[in-house]
Amino acid sequence: MPSEEVTDEHMAEVTGISLNTVRRTLYLLYEHRLAVYRRKRDPDSGWLTYLWQLCPQNIDKALESEARRLLRKLDSRLSYEKDHVFYACVNGCARLVFDDASEANFICPFCQGSLEYMENNRIVQTIEQQMKAIKANL
């Protein structure tokens, strides 16, 4: 997206991305204060044109807010990973907690393959490391 004002139609034309996707993305950026628009009325047709512009100066603030949101989610996920024992399909279809795996007689509900105990230490460690890295930068 260029630094000067640009219409959503122009953006869709240049990038080849559908107009709906461009508009949805622009409104997402607007919600996060990463883009602003100005409305301009065509004096002949009376139609409104939306002229969009990026606000790159707000990116750090938006990323910080995303980081805090992600931290809360990772915290919930970490507790879940620590509090449960997991069984995974040998064919990689699914990962179930012990109660669900036991109810399914340790047979994968998708492919009928065997469900085997899955060590989740690496996942716990990864979440903890990632949380630590994010916290260190806030």
């Binding site: 996060h32 990323l63 980081a67 949101r69 992600l70 990772l74 996920r77 996942i123 990864t126």
Partner: protein
């Protein structure tokens, strides 16, 4: 000091030679190498080999593709995958979210890849 180095590199649109950078900053070349290594690690600059007066050095350029000015939010990226909660409008269940799982697994797999490549390197040397 790394901020000074970054500012200096940033102020030169065509990039700067590493051999000029340490002279401009008034530091020795070893310290400069460490600063450059840190800036490269943080994805704040890029470098390419160049010869100056027959001596091999590097041309350093400021990386504009870094989303954040400070590069401090790189932990939101897992390998090539930006954290999935940004812009997500689905019902939030972090315990069962497939997108969050994919992101976490990408990091786990990426780390395994690193371990594997280090083992291969170690075996070769």
């Amino acid at each position: 000091m790394s901020e000074d180095a970054l500012e200096y590199i940033k102020s030169h649109e065509d990039g700067v030679l590493q051999s000029d950078l340490w002279k401009a900053l008034g530091i020795d070349s070893r310290k400069c190498s460490r600063l450059v290594a840190k800036l490269l690690k943080d994805n704040l600059i890029s470098r390419e080999i160049e010869s100056a007066d027959g001596i091999r050095t590097y041309r350093l350029r400021y990386s504009r593709q870094v989303s954040s000015q400070t590069g401090k939010f790189r932990s939101l990226m897992a390998i090539e995958l930006f954290e999935p909660c940004a812009g997500c409008i689905e019902e939030c269940m972090p315990e069962h979210c497939a997108k969050l799982s994919e992101w976490i697994f990408a990091i786990v797999i990426g780390e395994s890849g690193d371990i594997q490549s280090k083992k291969v390197d170690a075996a070769r040397s």
